[in-house]
């Protein structure tokens, strides 16, 4: 186990002699993507023409299939196979983990006659064309014995329990302190079910070679997908070759395997030919996970000077009855503001809706919508600026654990952001600023998101032509992973970007945990760095040990790698020359990273401050963004361009959260009413007018050898609350029920006489 002390010494990344770290390098795979030539899972070339699958899905939320008639479907043109629970090939029972090291257990499709949620796969057709498969699937007749499920979240709070294995966190005496506090806020905030709506739906192309299967699939975690398929099919995991090279968005929704992976592999085996299968847009809403609704009660008690003395954040959320997941919407608040008396915790309702799961900063994203508005409400009650209130509650050490912060620039983010955004233009009294038919307002919110390092490996080889290839079982879900791994490898090896290739998304490559939890760059990148350092050692040994090298016999500790050369002072040669001569078959090494035990001695997070300016139509209640700006502190930034893109992307999702995104449940049917992107609105270009973000200079030497941290999820954390606070500042309408649609805003405006 390594120690954070090992990471303090200068290294090629922190010295950055080649200047590649932090540079806004163009996307490594950008040309492939914009020219449409990056093969996504559904588009890869199979060894022969694939047959096409299509799934039929359940029309009830809970119950049992009593009759299923596939006669017409089987007789339909082009049909090769029709499966239901009655004739699907054998699979391991759900949850089987035959290999204890499997990261994911079995996840069988069509496993029985029970219906556990609306949209569950109930039949599967494979045909020669997509159209024939879909037409046949529509001919399948199914009858159900429906049962009453628990599908109405708000009506089911009485069934909320403590999540398994969790306890509330009590510090000090919250009830007494809250009762004694001269100024209090006690409000409840609601955020709805949300959907990932990735541009690319879940999809798989599968084929077999003997007893081994190759699957190209769209998944965030390579090993998880490989193991889930192996366990389900009850085959050794090394008989599954899983590839996921390009992914059209994940957002947490592709952290697990779905029926496309299982059914395409089963059908390819049964038919002896490649099979591909994708979810339709409509099927994605129920067939894959969603972010659960969260109801959050926030109680703040403060002294007249703004110091918090009582602090409680409690969340009620829900998950599927047979797939326990807790949206930890209160966790972030444990590390954000000082207060001696604290209460945080979660309650969970088990429901008969589709599975709840991680989505875009699980926990923080819905959670911060509550506290960061409650702070705005408290600031107004105290007559304090919302930034000043937060500064007065800035803790010296982690407010829950008492641990020191690794580095924390939250106050600097707020101050810097206020200056750059022009926060002094804000009129603290709401409803005062008009621009034609618009009421204009500004709001801000803090951002916090944890930083993580997981175990990972990477392999790197150099060939005789000098090409350096990084190989890793990592994924790029559109975030820029290819690019930053190329930068890290090039900088570590002292070569130009053009000399580096990155290959990933392959279960045969050294494993990395994949994309999620904003741990990807730090985790995969640190392993890539370690592999590069090992390659430097191997090449150093090669050079100083080779009589034909100008470095021969030189001191290994003085060897440098710059400009494609290996050198000791003025004795140098190109890496290509060295390898071509001394190791013509190339050199391959691996490297690995693991969390440092003493990293846990620090409270380690990424931080930011959001600023939003909105216009609210005084007639209709429509809210339109006018400006959004964020300042973030997230360690050393690897790529100015992809990091900015990620963080502003998160801010845009915050706008969606605040204004439009919601999957409404019709409790009569246990289904979401909006099942396409005409009904589930996410921000598009015209919704985002003036948006920018900057990063503060920072390096976190407790994070990893490179001092970097994640930026994938920080951008959404708090963003929606800044928009909500701006709506309040514009109108004096305080809404606590997301999203803030024109109807809700208008209702609020009517209530205040607008």
């Amino acid at each position: 186990m390594s120690s954070v002390k090992d990471w303090a010494a200068p290294n090629p990344i922190t010295e950055n002699r080649g200047g590649l770290i932090g540079k806004g390098v163009e996307r490594y795979e950008g040309r492939l993507k914009v020219t449409g030539s990056a093969p996504y899972a559904y588009e890869v070339e199979a060894p022969s023409r694939p047959a096409i699958g299509y799934m039929a899905t359940a029309s009830i939320a809970k119950g049992r299939i009593t009759r299923i008639d596939t006669t017409a479907a089987e007789a339909s043109p082009g049909v090769l196979l029709v499966w239901t629970h009655l004739n699907v090939p054998a699979q391991a029972p759900r949850g089987t983990r035959a290999n204890p090291r499997s990261q994911r257990p079995s996840n069988p499709a069509l496993a029985g006659d029970r219906i556990e949620n609306f949209g569950q796969t109930v039949a599967f057709v494979v045909a020669d064309t997509f159209e024939n498969a879909r037409a046949a699937a529509n001919l399948i007749e199914i009858e159900y014995a429906a049962e009453q499920g628990v599908v109405d979240f708000v009506a089911s709070f009485d069934q909320a329990d403590q999540p398994p294995g969790e306890e509330d966190v009590h510090i000090g005496d919250f009830p007494a302190a809250f009762a004694a506090a001269p100024v209090t806020v006690d409000e409840t905030y609601e955020s709805p079910v949300q959907n990932h709506v990735q541009m690319e739906p879940c999809a798989t192309t599968a084929w077999w070679d003997g007893d081994k299967v190759t699957v190209h699939t769209s998944i965030q975690m390579v090993k998880g997908g490989q193991h889930a398929l192996a366990e389900t099919l009850a085959i050794p995991s090394d008989h599954v070759h899983l590839l996921t090279r390009y992914i059209g968005g994940g957002f947490g929704g592709k952290g697990q395997a779905y029926d496309d992976l299982i059914l395409s592999a089963l059908a390819a085996r049964a038919l002896g030919q490649p099979v591909k299968l994708a979810y339709t847009r409509q099927q994605m809403f129920h067939g894959t996970i969603h972010r659960p609704a969260v109801s959050m009660r926030v109680r703040l008690g403060a002294q007249p000077d703004g110091r918090l003395t009582a602090f409680a954040v409690e969340a009620i959320t829900h998950c599927a009855r047979n797939a326990i997941f807790t949206e930890h919407a209160a966790n972030f608040s444990r590390n954000l503001y000082a207060a001696p008396n604290r209460l945080t915790g979660h309650r969970l309702v088990k429901m008969d809706l589709p599975g709840a799961g991680p989505m875009r900063a699980p926990g923080e994203a819905p959670g911060m919508l509550s506290l960061e508005c409650a702070m705005d409400e408290l600031a107004e009650k105290l007559g304090l600026d919302p930034i000043e209130l937060r500064i007065r509650n800035e803790p010296d050490v982690d407010p829950e654990t008492g641990k020191p912060f690794s580095v924390r620039q939250l106050v600097q983010c707020m101050r810097d952001g206020a200056t750059r955004f022009g926060w002094e233009r804000r009129n603290p009294k709401p409803g005062q600023v008009r621009d034609g038919r618009w009421l204009v307002g500004m709001g801000m919110a803090a951002a916090i998101r944890g930083n993580f390092l997981l175990p990972a490996k990477a392999g790197v080889r150099i060939d005789a032509d000098g090409t350096i290839t990084l190989r890793q079982g990592m994924t790029d879900i559109g975030t820029g992973t290819y690019t930053i791994l190329a930068q890290i490898t090039a900088e570590t090896m002292g070569v130009p970007m053009e000399q580096v290739k990155v290959e990933m998304g392959d279960s045969n490559f050294p494993p990395a945990p994949g994309s999620g939890g904003q741990f990807g760059a730090a985790t995969a990148g640190s392993a890539a760095y370690e592999a590069g350092m090992n390659l430097r050692k191997a090449l150093t040994a090669l050079a100083v040990g080779d009589p034909n090298s100008p470095l021969y016999g030189g001191p290994a500790e003085y060897v440098t790698f710059e400009n494609g050369n290996i050198a000791i002072e003025n004795r140098s040669e190109t890496l290509a020359a060295l390898v071509a001569r001394a190791a013509p078959d190339g050199v391959y090494v691996e490297g690995s990273i693991s969390p440092a035990a003493d990293a846990r001695d620090y409270s380690q997070h990424t931080y930011g401050a959001h600023f939003a300016e909105v216009g609210v139509d005084t007639v209709t209640g429509e809210v339109r963004m006018r400006k959004m700006f964020g300042v973030f502190a997230a360690g050393r930034i690897l790529n100015a361009k992809t990091a900015r893109s990620q963080i502003t992307g998160g801010m845009i999702w915050g706008v969606g959260t605040a204004l439009t995104e919601s999957n409404v449940v019709d409790a009569r049917y246990g289904s979401f009413i909006n099942q396409d992107m005409a009904g589930y609105l996410v921000p598009a270009h015209a919704d985002i007018v003036d948006l920018d973000a900057i990063f503060l200079d920072e390096a976190d030497d407790k994070a990893n050898p490179m001092g970097i941290k994640g930026v994938g999820e920080l951008g959404i954390c708090g963003a929606g609350a800044a928009v909500a606070n701006a709506i309040y500042n514009a109108t004096g309408v305080r809404l606590r029920d997301y999203p803030m649609t024109p109807e809700k805003v208008l209702e609020g405006m009517l209530a205040v006489g607008l």
Binding site: P77, R668, I673, G679, P683, A686, P742, E747
Partner: protein
């Protein structure tokens, strides 16, 4: 999508006859709505007659107004210099509808005949009288959306017509020119083209089977300003929660009924000297008020009043 056959009609009369003679046949032009509905198994035609390439894609000057070809795509119509000059309300309505990509394909006639966006109509697992006559209306007791009708709804259907363009055309007093299966031509006002749901919400227009809209006739612009305003959940493309078109003294409302809604009470009130707010109240007091739609009624009233007010400051060149 069920299997279907396809033909490209050589001329309009052949197209009309082909559809009139085959109960399973439908016209296809831009396909931006029909093809989506076929993929979702909501529309199930057995035969498609492609009229998208018939020579109905131009704009002609007629008696101080314009004759717009039924196959002209929305984006070209919105960009046409004479349309921009004479009918700003129509241009605003056109560019408020759908997305740029869809407007590049969607035709004038097809836009008029697009089907509702009611979420229950789109979900084939739910009852819908429009999709399956007699099955019931799941929207009626469903999640009451901002998209429900507030005028002319029935127990059988509370869906709204989603077109923006049709609202502007209604305010402009436009009519459609059709070709009937006998080869005769007829015209009917856009405001009379669509029906209220009644007991038969699946019958959406007064067109006979096979009758083809070949053109839209827009009379000379009325005296007075023109305004189109649409309320929607986001600034970029989205189906309207409500919209209003004002053309001089004529006013039409969108996303409030099974058809573009000519606001005759507003027009009457305005002509009798009522204020915009009073005029709006005259219309909205006649709305089908229930436990769920008070807010929408209020919204439409505010929107209509504001648009009428705004129209007083606008003048056609």
């Amino acid at each position: 999508m069920r299997p279907f056959t396809y033909e490209r009609a050589p001329d309009a009369l052949s197209a009309v006859k082909a559809v009139a003679e085959n109960p399973g046949a439908k016209f296809l032009a831009g396909g931006t709505n029909l093809l989506d509905l076929m993929k979702l198994d909501i529309e199930r035609p057995t035969h498609l007659v492609d009229v998208g390439r018939l020579p109905f894609a131009g704009v002609e000057e007629v008696n101080g107004g314009l004759r717009i070809g039924g196959a002209m795509v929305n984006s070209k119509l919105a960009a046409h210099p004479r349309v921009r000059e004479l009918y700003p309300v129509l241009v605003r309505a056109l560019v408020s509808g759908a997305s740029g990509q869809l407007r590049n394909k969607a035709t004038t006639a097809g836009n008029l005949l697009q089907r509702t966006r009611c979420a229950y109509f789109y979900d084939t697992t739910k009852p819908c009288n429009k999709r399956q006559p007699g099955s019931g209306c799941s929207a009626l007791e469903g999640v009451h959306g901002a998209h429900d009708a507030i005028f002319g709804a029935s127990k059988a259907c509370i869906a709204t017509h989603p077109s923006d363009m049709a609202v502007a055309l209604t305010a402009l007093g436009a009519s459609v020119e059709t070709l009937t299966p006998t080869g005769a031509s007829r015209t009917l006002a856009v405001q009379d083209l669509h029906r209220l749901p009644g007991e038969t919400p699946h019958v959406e227009t007064d067109l006979a089977p096979g009758e083809l809209i070949t053109a839209v006739l827009v009379p000379p612009p009325p005296e007075g300003g023109q305004v189109y305003r649409k309320v929607r959940g986001r600034a970029s493309y989205a189906h309207g929660i409500a919209s209003v078109a004002v053309a001089g003294g004529r006013v039409a409302l969108g996303a409030v009924a099974h058809k573009p809604w000519r606001a005759a009470h507003i027009e009457d009130a305005l002509s009798s000297g009522a204020s915009p707010a009073e005029a709006a109240e005259a219309e909205l007091s006649k709305a089908d008020r229930n436990d769920h739609n008070a807010l929408k009624i209020t919204l439409v009233g505010r929107l209509a009043a504001a648009a009428i007010e705004e129209s007083k400051t606008r003048r056609v060149a």
